[in-house]
Symmetry: C2
């Protein structure tokens, strides 16, 4: 019983900090997206494509984070149990990035994100992508201050994941169904997967994509444009 | 500070129950293997192959769990956040199986396994496979009473996982590197993956396999035979 009370307390404390993060982001006009998936589903590669699409090389130091496609300025928080590899991949795009190492922890929490926000030039950003620790279970329970959760699912994980790990797919606003180039080489039924996902969350937007080939990512950019385009000044 | 103390308490309580599970399994001559991986890495398919290899159809109710290959009698505990799908897949082999649903929980703990052991005919078993919740982080911290941890890694997750999630690969006795049939279709360097894994754990036995084609599984059966063959009567 005492154990359960503590866990509730931790989650309540987390939610309070998440609300504070959300207020702080809103004050700076930054929209945050919390990317959650299994390890190796393709979150970082999705971000690399997204940065390639939206950012342009810095020119004489001016407007260095400005989006090529729409003017969006993007920052990234990378969450990992260990290593700074993902942040190093993101850094090559010249966008502000902070790596959080959880040192064994299975998810990001709002307090970690609050400290990462201290390191980011929030006044220079419109969008913030927070790449969570690769884990289909634990990150779902922790609000970070994001305005939307983005689920990424690799088709190579099999078609039963939305039914077996329903919480993420209930909470997400959009799912990028990734690695569809592998369908001919996997025993998986994409239609059945989509049908099962719809049973878990009928409102979930599902984007069919391959981050390896780039196929389908236009729908992802369109989703982001719609989401970012509705920003209330 | 109080929070950390509680977590330590939970882990200590878990370890005490795990030791009790281990004693109980030893008394019945059962060797337990704790299978840990990301969601969709192929744990259940590996078990299906293993049961296909070791068990034979029941004949007149006699010796119904007897191994075809070596006389080993096998039972299974399936851990999932939701659904009993994996247990249903295992049940078709006619072996004793118990499904644990964690209802949102991110790992099996020793107490869940203790209750599952109550439901298994331990006197009729030689080996017990415990398929953990698909999660590369949390299950690693919880002893269940197993004699060895088996890591399963899908090559489709990319080559950086042992470096980014080192705890599992440190604790495991063997790693089944699965889905190698996908190598021609993924941007992954298997040699680099093996080298990185060796840096995390030089003693880890690495088995190259494809559970889709069955390639390489002879090395897995050989590892199991060696492990089970050394049983002290």
């Amino acid at each position: 019983m005492a154990k359960i009370k503590v866990v509730e307390g931790v989650l309540k404390a987390n939610d309070a900090i998440a609300e504070s993060n959300a207020r702080r982001l809103a004050e700076h006009g930054v929209r945050a997206f919390n990317l959650i998936s299994s390890p190796g589903a393709g979150k970082t590669t999705l971000l690399e494509h997204t940065l390639e699409h939206y950012t342009r090389p810095r020119r004489n130091g001016a407007n260095r984070f400005t989006s090529r496609a729409s003017g969006w300025r993007i920052g990234v928080i990378e969450g990992d149990v260990a290593t700074s590899r993902d942040a190093e991949r993101i850094e090559t795009f010249g966008v502000p990035v902070v790596q959080i190492n959880t040192r064994g922890g299975c998810h990001l929490d709002a307090n970690m994100v609050a400290r990462a926000l201290d390191e980011l030039p929030l006044d220079e950003l419109d969008a913030l992508f927070i790449e969570n620790v690769g884990n289909l279970v634990c990150p779902v329970g922790y609000q970070l201050g994001e305005e939307a959760v983005v689920a990424v699912l690799s088709i190579a994980e099999g078609q039963d994941k939305p039914a077996k790990y329903p919480a993420l797919f209930r909470r997400a606003a959009v799912m990028v169904l990734n690695k569809l180039d592998l369908v001919p080489h996997c025993d998986v039924d994409v239609d059945a997967l989509v049908e099962e996902t719809r049973k878990v969350n009928a409102q979930l937007e599902i984007i069919h994509a391959s981050c390896r080939t780039g196929d389908g990512l236009d729908a992802w950019y369109a989703w982001l444009d719609k989401r970012l385009g509705t920003r209330e000044a």
